[in-house]
Structure formats: structure tokens, C-alpha cells
């Protein structure tokens, strides 16, 4: 029997499919909508387990702050449903579709959790891991099991849902998830500081994050990147732009923005609509996307060069400027900062020694992931940051504990895992 894609429409069928793959010794490429297929190491399997048929919100109770949905439920279905009740996924999941040259809004809830991605609010609200309360799924043995719970506070047994976040389908084919949902902010403003170089900008972001004003976004766009923004007030600065986001209830936002403007010596304040646009750009790495967004007025973005490889670098914030400087010195790289200086997005002209240069600049201060590059590059390079030997050995054992025969997404993260 030649099977290239199996598309179950129930958890029981998904378990059956994995059991079949196990009996055939056929590894599975586990996917939702496939919107993040370009992320991670390419895998070569004869068979795809397409989970997009496991779709639909199972339960959503705004007052309980939880939502349970089948893993293949499109984010495009979940986000409006939350917005209607003035709620959100506080970790601000990224939509990286356009970065990979795909349409916007294509991801699934399972894909968002499995890839463990979070946006600018990561600094205050945490990541996908912090909002995943419960899971059900099929391990590599073909067992349908559950972990975690469906309430916001639970310490019963191991926190299996955390292990799923960022595991790229290598441990379990997720069939259902319960996530924490939180109120969406009523209002949002962004303080803009013009013309600061990296170190001065990160110092300003640090001051903002050390303030008692609940900053929920802290980014710095060097001049070349800022010029690509669709927000006129950002692009028109004609130099570097440093951004500090304040969200919450109207009167609170007004008061905090006034205080921060004074403390930071901000040059301007972006209104709610401008803020929504600029933080979406920062979140989705739009500046390195290949084409202007359809919403763009034809100016601003679009200078992104899709032949460049995109790296995501996580570092302690105070080290951000130093690491950025080392990368610029070694490579032809454009970059910008998020997370108060602790996240560097870099678009690097293809170079054989890029991985070594970037990881060398980091030392032990963080980790770097190759997010976008052609398949042949991702086969040859270490896409995810190499782990220290003892951590790698333990990770292999953890993989075996879920998937002893290497059926689920083998090699998607690390060779042999």
C-alpha cells in the first residue's frame, strides 16, 4: 500500500495511523496546516500525518480563562473568537507565514504550541509554554494519552504540556490542547525614541523595563530596518527607532505613557492603530519578509531580501548590543532587537561561516536558531543551537521515552532526535 498522506479526522484515527506507521517502520512527517514547514531541519519521510482534519473549538469559557480546541484548529478561527469576548492569547503568537513567502493567517493552534513561538509580549506574559495548560495526543508508540489539565492552576503530575511547547512534533502528535486565555488590553500606545544607537537604545529599554509602568513591548529598529515600517511616523524618522509599548485600561495607559515619556525623554507617542501595526511587524519579522504586505500603501516595507537567511538569537538583554556588533563585524547582516535587547532578529547574506560566527559571538550567553534558509542549507547546518553533551544525551532519552522507534518527525530538531 502506498500512502503519502494520512489525514485522520478523530484522535482515535490519529492513534491508529501512528500504530500503522510503527508496524510498517515508516516515520511520519507530522504537520498541521504546514505553514511552518520551512522552520526546523527538513525531514525526509515517505508519509505525512496531516492533523488539519482535527479541527474545532471544543470548549471556550471566557470567565474560566481557558480554551480547549483540537490541535488542527486554525488560528484564524480562534483569534476572532477570543477577540469577540475581548480576550487574547497573551503570548502574542507569531504569524511567520509571510516570512516564508506564504499567505498570512494560516497556522493552527497545535502548530503554534509545537513551535513554541511568542511575540514581543514574551517579556511580560511569557511564551507558548506558559499558556499551555493541557494536551492530548498520540505518542510514538501509538498511545493516545493526556497530560496537564483544563484549569489555570494545576501541579498534578509532570508538566507534560510544557515539554510539548517547542518540541516541533517530535514527541507527540497533538490532537487537542487547552490553553490559558487572558483579557485583551483595552488600549495601547507606543513611545518612540529617535536616533539612538544600539547600546543607548538598550539602556533606554532597560530603564523602561525596570520602571513600575508594566511595559509590554520593548524593541529597537536600527535605521535601515525602521525605514521599512508601514507606520509613517516610524519610517519618517530617517534613523534608528526605539519602541516601548504600554497596554491596559485607558486611564492607566494615559498616565503611564505620560510618566514614561518624561523618564525616557521620548520623542513621540504612536496611537493605538499605529501601535498595532508596528508591533505586528516586529512580531512577525515583517522587515525581512520578501514582499510588502497587501495592506501596505506601497511605501515603507518591501526592502526585505528573501535570499538572506534569517536568524533568531536569544541572549541576556545587556549582551544584545555586543552580540549584534560581533555579528555585524563578521557578516553582512541586518538586524533588529526585541525583548528589551534580549532577542535579535538577523537577516544575513548567505555565508558558509554564518552559523559559527553567530554562535561564536554568543558564547554561552544564549542560543541562535536558523529560522529561514533554503532546504539544502538547513540540511547541512545545525538549525537549532547545539546543546551541551549532557543536555543532548538527556534530550535523546526524553525523545525515546515518547517515541522509541523514531516515528514522529525524526530529525526535525536535531539529527537522530
Amino acid at each position: 500500500m502506498t500512502v503519502t498522506t494520512i489525514k485522520p479526522d478523530s484522535a482515535a484515527q490519529a492513534a491508529d495511523a501512528v500504530r500503522w506507521a510503527l508496524s510498517e517502520g515508516t516515520p511520519l512527517d507530522v504537520a498541521g496546516s504546514g505553514s511552518k514547514r520551512g522552520l526546523g531541519r527538513p525531514i525526509q519521510t515517505a508519509c505525512t500525518l496531516d492533523l488539519s482534519g482535527l479541527s474545532g473549538v471544543v470548549a471556550y469559557e471566557a470567565e474560566e480563562l481557558v480554551l480547549t480546541a483540537r490541535a488542527g484548529t486554525p488560528m484564524a478561527e480562534i483569534l476572532p473568537m477570543l477577540a469577540e469576548r475581548r480576550q487574547q492569547l497573551a503570548f502574542e503568537p507569531q504569524d511567520l507565514g509571510p516570512l516564508f513567502g506564504r499567505p498570512e493567517g494560516q497556522g493552527t493552534l497545535g502548530g503554534v504550541v509545537a513551535s513554541g513561538l511568542a511575540g514581543p509580549r514574551r517579556i511580560s506574559a511569557g511564551s507558548a509554554r506558559d499558556h499551555t495548560l493541557g494536551i492530548a495526543g498520540v505518542n510514538g508508540r501509538g498511545d493516545l494519552y493526556k497530560g496537564g489539565g483544563k484549569v489555570v492552576k494545576n501541579v498534578t503530575g509532570y508538566d507534560v504540556p510544557k515539554l510539548m511547547a517547542g518540541s516541533f512534533g517530535t514527541l507527540t502528535a497533538l490532537t487537542e490542547l487547552t490553553v490559558k486565555v487572558l483579557p485583551a488590553p483595552e488600549d495601547c500606545r507606543t513611545l518612540l525614541l529617535a536616533g539612538r544607537e544600539d547600546a543607548g537604545a538598550v539602556a533606554a529599554l532597560t530603564a523602561a523595563l525596570q520602571s513600575p509602568y508594566d511595559v509590554s513591548g520593548a524593541a529597537h529598529l536600527p535605521a535601515a530596518v525602521a525605514a521599512r515600517s508601514d507606520v509613517r511616523a516610524v519610517a519618517a524618522v530617517g534613523g534608528a527607532v526605539t519602541l516601548v509599548r504600554v497596554e491596559g485600561f485607558g486611564p492607566s495607559v494615559t498616565a503611564r505613557v505620560a510618566a514614561l515619556k518624561e523618564e525616557l525623554g521620548a520623542d513621540a507617542v504612536l496611537d493605538r492603530d499605529e501601535s498595532l501595526v508596528v508591533w505586528r511587524e516586529v512580531r512577525d519579522v515583517a522587515y525581512f519578509g520578501p514582499t510588502p504586505s497587501p495592506a501596505s500603501a506601497g511605501e515603507g516595507r518591501g526592502g526585505g531580501d528573501d535570499s538572506r537567511h534569517v536568524w533568531k538569537i536569544s541572549v541576556q538583554p545587556s549582551e544584545g548590543p555586543r552580540v549584534a556588533e560581533s555579528i555585524r563585524w563578521a557578516l553582512d547582516a541586518e538586524l533588529y532587537f526585541d525583548w528589551g535587547g534580549g532577542l535579535i532578529w538577523a537577516a544575513v547574506a548567505p555565508a558558509a561561516d554564518a552559523a559559527a560566527a553567530i554562535r561564536g559571538a554568543l558564547g554561552t550567553a544564549g542560543h541562535a536558531t536558523l529560522v529561514r534558509a533554503p532546504e539544502d542549507v538547513r540540511i547541512a547546518a545545525e538549525v537549532f543551537h547545539p546543546l551541551p553533551d549532557p543536555v543532548m544525551a538527556l534530550s535523546r532519552r526524553v525523545k525515546e521515552s515518547f517515541d522509541p522507534c523514531g516515528i514522529l518527525n525524526p530529525g526535525r530538531m536535531y539529527a537522530g532526535v
Binding site: L22, V155, L171
Partner: protein, 495 residues
């Protein structure tokens, strides 16, 4: 509740094991004298006691590594212990086991305000971290009730919570990095001062693993700037149902308070008699809602909360107008446990979580059980996240009362699971709820969790007999049964 039978072979080698430990940890770092061992016989779950075979108190990571490796080589079980404040028996010793006390790891290593984090040894108390950064206006957010005594290492083991959790998260949401030692002596570092440790979220599964996966020797936590201001409102309701409705309405309005606590009539009366906080005594439910943050925000929201309370039929409402008054609102809640201790010789503190909408049903069923077991119950709970703390009042000197209290407690936890909740919100499973795990998880779920343990501790030597009701050998759990054959669902779309 039965613990695994002690291994007589190990106990027979006690002297040899002690001698081996003394070569690693010199002097008073190894305790073998029975009168001194007595201090370690239980944790905060005092109903269960067991003298350990020996106690070892290492003071360096290297010593921890050698102790664990030696115990593995000799086939000896190890129970890690912080300050021993666990309420679920997580640090209950084993008769044939080494108790590994981490109390000497009591130094803060690095305070880094620029990166908003603290690197500390695991034996530092939860409050000790906040105190160390208070001069710059920072604090460590998770605040378990035992924060004056409990250690950050123990907080990691239990994924401790507290009043602030709804807004600021549990321990797991506030940890950036760990150094830990596996049973074979391997030293691992996970995460650091940066966000999103690379690879699998091992830190996520270690946090809350109750000492079954490894021994934490260093922790990096994030610290936050103290909110500019905090105000509280005290709200009384004629029924607990209205109290629950009010909580739901506050959250539905988009407000996530820094703390939102509820007490029922017996708890209100016990607390008021004890500390005279000025609580109303003619209400069925009392809510304390604390809002923290920038002054403009707190002033704005406190009015909204008071308005919501009125719309839900509150019969009492008082907004704090001074710091002193705010603290007086909390005085009763913070003293609720000792207050209950005054009206009963003993009490048993439970810890389950429910979907908040099930609160009226759960309270009603609890009253029924109270009648059936002929034991009183008082309730305090973290209303915002549905985490209940029923306090079952009993007298250990009356034959059968302890057993009845435990049976009553188990019924409450089963009820929590029945209504869609969980067995424990913050205290952990330990030995206390171990045998109830099968009410929340089926065998397949538990087998998968135990396989995770096998990845960390293949011989099952770290804290066995806790969390999991049945011990399985890793070899047995690891077997893969492959059934050749057709798909059971031949109609699955394939293309």
C-alpha cells in the same frame, strides 16, 4: 497509604553506605545518629513520619554529584529535601533511603538588575530573594504562604504558587534557568539569563516534578519591579454563589487582580475571632480583591470592582483607603490556617482546583460530606483561579477521626476531578494524593509520565513512592508492542 517495602539488603549495608558518604561530605555533613535524624522524619504533612536511614548535607555541586553517583552505584534511594515545608509529603524520608538536605546551599550568587534576574542557590528562602532586591524596588512574584521558610529549590520541586499566581504566574513562569544533578551524577545547566532555553523545555518538566527527576543546585529567577501601589476591596455576599458570580464578572470585565481570595462563613468567623480584622460576620462569602499596579490604574479599577460587586448583590463592601487598612483586610486571610487551628485540635488542609463555575455545586456537596463524615470544614480559596483550600477540622486524639478526615479529603479531591478540575493546584501530589492519581489520569497517561522519569532516572532511585501509585521498572515501560496489520480505520483519507 503504603510506601514501598524497605530493602533489607540496603539497610544491612547501612554502615558501608554511611562510610562512603563520609568520604564525600566530611564532618557533620553526614547525620546517622537516631536522635538527630528525628528532625528530618517528616515535612509539612506531619501525619506521615519515617526516620531516614541517613541524612547527608552537601555544600557543593561536586558533592551533590558524587553523593548521587555513589548512591546509584550502591543501589540506594535518595530523597531530596529543601526546608521541609511541603504539605504533600514530598520530602517524606524512606527507611532504606538517604535524605539529601540542600540547606547549606543558602547563598545568593548574583543580583542582576539590568537583566532583571537573580541567580541563587536552591536553599535560599523565597522571601530571602525578595528581601535581597527590595532596596531597588524589585521583588520575586510567586508568594507561597510559607515564603518566610520555604526555599526556592523546594519551590522548583513543587512548582509553588501563592496569592499572586493568577496575575504573575506560578514558579514555572518565573524561572529562567536551572543547574541540576541527575541520579548518575551528571551536572546539567538549562536556560540562563536569556529567554526560551534551547531544545526541549526540560526546565518546564523539571519544575513541579517533586524531586523525582533530579536535584536542583542553582536557580535563575526573574524579578519584577514592585507595583507602584496596591489597594484592596472587601466584599461580603449573602450566598457563595453570588461571590462566585462576582469573581467571574470581574474577570469577564477584563480585570485580572493581583489577588482575589474568598472565604466561607466558618473561615470568616475563625479568622475574625483570631485577629479582629473587622470582617462582617453576617455574610456567607467574603471576597478580598486586591488591585496592584500604577496608581491611575488601581484607582480606576477599584471603582469598577466595587460597581461589579454591587451589581452582583453584595451586602457589604469596603474599599481600603490606606496601606494600613489594606493590610488589615489581609490579616484575617493570612491567618486563616492558624485561626482554624485555634478552634480545632487539628486540621487537614486540602488543595484542589475546579473550574470556577462549579463552585456552588462543590461547596454544596462539601456540606453534605461534612454531615456524613461528622467533621466540620472551613473554606479559603484563591477564587481567581479556582484553587480551593478546604480545611477539615478533626481531633487526632479521637480514634478514627484522622482516617475520617483523610477519607473526607479524598472525596473532595475526587469531586474536584469529577467537575473538570484537578487534584492539586499548588501543594503537589507527594504521598498525600498519590493513590488518587488514577482518578485524574488513566494508566496510559501515567505510563507516559513514568517513562519521562526513566529518561532522567532509569533505576528509579530518586524519591520513589511519591506521585505515582504504582512503581514500574523502566525496562517493562520501555517495551514496544507492535501489531502488524491493517489500519483499523481503513476509511481514513489517504492520498
Amino acid at each position: 497509604m503504603r510506601m514501598p517495602a524497605p530493602d533489607d539488603g540496603v539497610i544491612a549495608r547501612r554502615r558501608e553506605i554511611i562510610a562512603a558518604l563520609r568520604t564525600i561530605v566530611p564532618g557533620e555533613g553526614v547525620i546517622a545518629d537516631e536522635s538527630e535524624l528525628r528532625a528530618y522524619e517528616c515535612d509539612g504533612l506531619t501525619a506521615y513520619r519515617q526516620l531516614p536511614m541517613v541524612v547527608v548535607l552537601p555544600s557543593t555541586v561536586e558533592q551533590v554529584s558524587r553523593v548521587l553517583r555513589t548512591c546509584k552505584e550502591m543501589g540506594v534511594k535518595v530523597v531530596p529535601r529543601g526546608a521541609g515545608t511541603s504539605l504533600s509529603g514530598g520530602a517524606l524520608p524512606l527507611a532504606d533511603g538517604v535524605l539529601l538536605g540542600m540547606g547549606k546551599f543558602n547563598r545568593i550568587l548574583d543580583i542582576d538588575f539590568a537583566n532583571r534576574c537573580v541567580v541563587t542557590q536552591p536553599g535560599v528562602t523565597n522571601l530571602g530573594i525578595s528581601n535581597a532586591v527590595a532596596h531597588e524596588g524589585f521583588y520575586y512574584a510567586p508568594d507561597p504562604s510559607s515564603q518566610i521558610a520555604c526555599t526556592i529549590g523546594g519551590n522548583i520541586a513543587e512548582n509553588s504558587g501563592g496569592v499572586h499566581c493568577l496575575k504573575y504566574g506560578l514558579t514555572t513562569n518565573n524561572v529562567l534557568g536551572l543547574e541540576m544533578v541527575l541520579m548518575d551524577g551528571t551536572i546539567l545547566r538549562l536556560g540562563g539569563k536569556h529567554l526560551d532555553a534551547g531544545g526541549y523545555d526540560l526546565m518546564g518538566v523539571v519544575t513541579g516534578s517533586e524531586g523525582l527527576l533530579g536535584v536542583v543546585t542553582e536557580v535563575t529567577v526573574r524579578i519584577l519591579k514592585k507595583p507602584a501601589t496596591a489597594r484592596a476591596v472587601l466584599i461580603g455576599f449573602p450566598t457563595s454563589e453570588q461571590g462566585g458570580d462576582c469573581v467571574a464578572a470581574i474577570i469577564a470585565a477584563g480585570i485580572i487582580p493581583g489577588g482575589m481570595e474568598m472565604m466561607d462563613r466558618p473561615a470568616i468567623h475563625a479568622a475574625e475571632d483570631f485577629v479582629h480584622a473587622g470582617y462582617p460576620l453576617d455574610v456567607e462569602a467574603l471576597l478580598i480583591v486586591e488591585l496592584d499596579g500604577p496608581a491611575a490604574e488601581v484607582d480606576h479599577l477599584i471603582e469598577q470592582v466595587a460597581e461589579i460587586a454591587r451589581s452582583k448583590g453584595c451586602c457589604y463592601s469596603r474599599v481600603s483607603t490606606s496601606e494600613e487598612e489594606r493590610l488589615s483586610f489581609w490579616a484575617g486571610r493570612k491567618a486563616a490556617f492558624p485561626a482554624v487551628g485555634r478552634i480545632s485540635p487539628d486540621y487537614y488542609c486540602m488543595d484542589g482546583t475546579i473550574p470556577r463555575k462549579a463552585l456552588p455545586l462543590v461547596l454544596h456537596r462539601m456540606q453534605e460530606m461534612s454531615g456524613r463524615y461528622a467533621l466540620r470544614v472551613a473554606n479559603v480559596f484563591h477564587a481567581g483561579d479556582g484553587n480551593l483550600h478546604p480545611l477539615i477540622l478533626y481531633d487526632a486524639n479521637k480514634p478514627g477521626e484522622l482516617e475520617r478526615a483523610e477519607a473526607f479529603g479524598n472525596d473532595i479531591l475526587r469531586l474536584c476531578v469529577e467537575v473538570g478540575g484537578v487534584l492539586t493546584g499548588e501543594h503537589g501530589v507527594g504521598v498525600e494524593k498519590r493513590d488518587l492519581m488514577t482518578d485524574q489520569f488513566d494508566e496510559v497517561d501515567l505510563d507516559q509520565q513514568q517513562r519521562i522519569k526513566c529518561a532522567f532516572d532509569p533505576d528509579g532511585l530518586l524519591n520513589p513512592g511519591k506521585v505515582f501509585p504504582k512503581l514500574h521498572r523502566c525496562a517493562e515501560l520501555g517495551r514496544v508492542h507492535i501489531h502488524k496489520g491493517e489500519l483499523r480505520f481503513p476509511d481514513i483519507p489517504r492520498f
